[in-house]
C-alpha cells in the first residue's frame, strides 16, 4: 500500500467530520476534500475515527507459553481490536525481569509490526516477591521499560513495594500493582458474597483488593512516586483511589472491559470462561467502576487479555485457569458497557483507551489525539454495526472469550499503525505486507 493514505469522511469523537491525510507515518493534514497524488483512499463514511488504542495490560505469553499466545498472534489480535500499542506483561517464562528478556519481547513486537509492543518489567526477580528485579537495566535497555509489574501476583511485602516505588521514580517509571492480599484470597474462586456461599466457591473478598490499594497509595504519597492500580474491580477500591487523588497522591488506575460489563451472576452455571482474577463482582461494583471512570478516578481501560489453551478452561471450575482474552472485543464491550449506557461519550473513550494509558505508560505521540503532525495511529470503528460475537471475531491463538455467542455493538473496520494499515475492510493485513511496511517506515 502507498505510504500516503487519505481517510475520507471520518466522524470524529467530538462530532466533527474530516478527511485525514497520512503521509510518511504521520498525520499530515486534516480537513474537508483533501487530496494527494498517489494516495490510497479509505472510505470512512459512517465510521468513527479514534486515536490508536493503547492497552496497558496485555499478556502476550511469549517467551514460554507459546501454546497460549505469541507476540505475533497477540499483536494480530490487538490490531484486530483497534490497538496500536500493547504493554506486554512480565509473567512469561523466563520472567521479564532482565534487560535481555524485555529486549527480546520488544524485538519480537517490532518484527511482527502490527502494534508497538512495550514490555512491562517485573518488579521482583522471578515475580517471587523477595528482591527487586533488574529494574534499572530494563529501564535503560533498548526496550526503555517504564512500567513495572508483578501482575498475576501482588507485591505483598510493604517494604519491598516502598523500595520499588522509590527506585522507579528517578526515571519517572511507574509500579503497576496487582492488588490482592494473599492470605485473604487463598484458593479464592469468585467474588465473596451471597452467591459464592450458594455455589460453594471460596470467596475473594473485596477487602483483599482495597486493603492493598489503601496501603500502596499511602506508600506512594509518602515517597512521592507513581503508582498504578491494575484492574480495579470493587466499589471500595474506587473510593480509596478517589480519596488518594483528592490528597494529591500520584496514583492512576485502570479497569477492564469485563469488569465494566459483567457481574458475578454469570458464574452461576460454573462456565469457566467467566473465571477471572480479580473476579467479576456485584452490580454495585460495576456501577461504581463505571462512575469512577466517568469522574476520572479511574484513568484508563485496560484489557488484561489473558489467553489460555482450551484444556485450561475445559474442566471443572476450581481446576480452570483465571483469565479471558479481551483485545478483540474490548472496544465493542466498552461501547456496550459505558457508551450505550451514557456513562462516557466517544471523546472520553479516546481518552481512557488512548491518551491516558499512553501517558501512564510513557508512550509518546498520543498526547494530542488525532492532530496534524502526530504519528498516524488510528482506529476506524463502525458504531452502527451489531453482531453476534463468535470465533471469527478472534484473531489470537486462544479462544477463551466470555463473549462468544453474545451480541455486541460496533466493529473495528481499520487500524493504522505508525502510518501503515494493519487492518482494512474488517480484515487483518498479512504478516509479510506488515513487515514490508514496517521496513519501509524505518529505512525510508
Amino acid at each position: 500500500m502507498s505510504r500516503t493514505i487519505i481517510i475520507r469522511g471520518a466522524a470524529l469523537a467530538d462530532g466533527g467530520r474530516t478527511d485525514i491525510l497520512v503521509r510518511d507515518g504521520r498525520i499530515a493534514e486534516l480537513g474537508g476534500s483533501l487530496s494527494a497524488a498517489e494516495a490510497a483512499v479509505i472510505d470512512a463514511d459512517g465510521l468513527l475515527a479514534l486515536p490508536g488504542l493503547v492497552d496497558l495490560h496485555t499478556h502476550l505469553r511469549e517467551p514460554g507459553y507459546e501454546q497460549s499466545e505469541t507476540v505475533l498472534t497477540g499483536s494480530r489480535a490487538a490490531a484486530f481490536g483497534g490497538f496500536t500499542v500493547v504493554h506486554a506483561m512480565a509473567n512469561t517464562s523466563p520472567v521479564a525481569d532482565t534487560a535481555g528478556v524485555v529486549e527480546q519481547v520488544e524485538s519480537l513486537g517490532e518484527a511482527a509490526g502490527y502494534v508497538t509492543v512495550r514490555p512491562v518489567g517485573a518488579v521482583t526477580a522471578g515475580l517471587e516477591g523477595r528482591q527487586l528485579a533488574e529494574i534499572g537495566a530494563m529501564a535503560t535497555s533498548r526496550a526503555r521499560v517504564r512500567v513495572f509489574s508483578d501482575d498475576g501476583r501482588c507485591v505483598d511485602d510493604a517494604q519491598l513495594m516502598r523500595r520499588a516505588l522509590e527506585y522507579v521514580k528517578v526515571f519517572d517509571g511507574v509500579v503497576a500493582q496487582h492488588a490482592q492480599e494473599a492470605r485473604l484470597t487463598e484458593d479464592a474462586q469468585m467474588n465473596e458474597g451471597s452467591l459464592s456461599g450458594e455455589l460453594g466457591l471460596t470467596g475473594w473478598p473485596a477487602a483483599a483488593e482495597e486493603a492493598i490499594i489503601a496501603r500502596d497509595v499511602l506508600l506512594a504519597g509518602h515517597v512521592g512516586a507513581r503508582l498504578h492500580i491494575c484492574h480495579v474491580s470493587t466499589a471500595g477500591s474506587v473510593d480509596v483511589i478517589r480519596w488518594a487523588k483528592a490528597r494529591g497522591i500520584p496514583v492512576t488506575a485502570e479497569v477492564t472491559p469485563h469488569h465494566l460489563l459483567l457481574t458475578e451472576d454469570v458464574v452461576r452455571g460454573y462456565d469457566t470462561r467467566y473465571k477471572v482474577n480479580p473476579p467479576l463482582r456485584g452490580a454495585e461494583d460495576v456501577a461504581a467502576v463505571r462512575a469512577g471512570l466517568a469522574d476520572g478516578t479511574i484513568d484508563a481501560i485496560a484489557t488484561d487479555h489473558a489467553p489460555h489453551p482450551v484444556e485450561a478452561k475445559d474442566c471443572e471450575w476450581a481446576a480452570a485457569a483465571f483469565g479471558m482474552v479481551g483485545l478483540e472485543s474490548a472496544l465493542s464491550v466498552v461501547h456496550a458497557a459505558v457508551v450505550q449506557t451514557g456513562v462516557l461519550d466517544w471523546t472520553d473513550v479516546a481518552r481512557v483507551l488512548s491518551s491516558a494509558p499512553a501517558r501512564i505508560g510513557s508512550v509518546p505521540g498520543y498526547e494530542a489525539g488525532i492532530a496534524v503532525g502526530v504519528p498516524a495511529n488510528l482506529t476506524l470503528y463502525d458504531p452502527s454495526a451489531e453482531r453476534v460475537f463468535d470465533r471469527s471475531a478472534l484473531r489470537g491463538r486462544s479462544t477463551n472469550s466470555p463473549y462468544l455467542s453474545a451480541v455486541l455493538p460496533g466493529r473495528v473496520i481499520a487500524t493504522i499503525h505508525d502510518g501503515y494499515p494493519t487492518m482494512l475492510d474488517g480484515e487483518l493485513l498479512d504478516a509479510r505486507t506488515i513487515a514490508t511496511a514496517r521496513e519501509e517506515l524505518q529505512h525510508g
Partner: protein
Amino acid sequence: MRHLLSTKGLGREQAIAILDVAEDMGDVSQREVKKLPALRGKTVVNLFYEDSTRTRISFEAAAKRLSADVINFSAKGSSVSKGESLKDTAQTLASMGADAVVIRHPASGAPQTLAQSGWIDAGIVNAGDGMHEHPTQALLDAFTIRRRFHGAAARGRDLDGISVAIVGDILHSRVARSNIWLLTALGASVHLVAPATLMPVDLEGWPVTVGYDLDRELASGPDVVMMLRIQAERMHASFFPNAREYSRQWGLDEDRVGRLGAGTIVMHPGPMNRGLEISALAADSPLSTVREQVTNGVSVRMAALYLLLSGERESSEGEPVEEEQSA
C-alpha cells in the same frame, strides 16, 4: 428426571414425588428378597474423587437392589496436573456405556460441568461436590424427618411447620446447603447456628435465620437438631480456638441433649466426631436418627437412580439443567 445435581430449584411437588418413590423403595428393603429388576442391564458408575466409603456403598447398595451393574471408579489422587482430566475420564466412561454416573468431587460445580459438557450423555447424580451440594443427603434427611413426624402416613406429605436447627460448620458444608434449599421448599423453617467464622459471610437471599448461640436456639424448641461434622483441618486454621471451646459452645453435649423435648430428633450426616460436635449420649439416644438416616439413604438413592434411569430417558438437547429440575 435427567440429572440430580442440586436441591436448589427442586420444587415442592417434585421433592415430595421423589420422597414417595423412596417410600416404595423402602418397602422393597423390608422384603426377604431385597431386589427389584427395574434397572437390569443398566450400568451405574460410582466416580469418586474423594474417599467416602459410606456414600459409595450406599449408592452401590441402591444400584444393586435395582439390579443395575455397578462399576466403582476411585479417582482419588488423580489431579488435573498429574492425572487424567475430568473430561477424559467422562469420555472414557461414556465409551464404556455408562447409563448413570454418580460423582463425588472436591470441586464445587463438577457434576454440573459434567452434565452440561457434552462429554457424556449419562444421567449425573451429584454425590457431593466441594462446598456446594449433596442432594441425596438432603433427600434422605427430609425423608427421615418426614417418617419421624408423619410415620406410616408420610406419603404425599410435606414438612410444613417443622423447625430445623442446623448446627456447625455451615461455611464448608454441602450437606447444609442442600438441606437449606430442600427443607424450606418442603415448608420447614431452617435456623443456622455456628461460630461466625464458620458461617457464610453474606446470607442475603437465603431462606434461613441465623444465630450464634446454641443454647438460645435449643430453648426455642426446634423439632430437629441437625449436627454437622467438624473436619479436622478446621481446627488448625483458626476458625475456633480449639476443640474444647468448640464443644463447649456448639457441641450437643449431655446437658444440652437433656434439655431437648421428647419429640425432638437429633440428626447427623456422619461420620460423627463423638465428643466434639455430638456427645455419645446424644448419638445413641432414642432421639437420634443416625442409623435410620443410613437405612433411608439407600431408599432415597434407589429412588434417585430409578427416576433417572427407568423408562424413556429425557433428551438432553436444548434444555438447561436447572429448568429440568424444577419442571
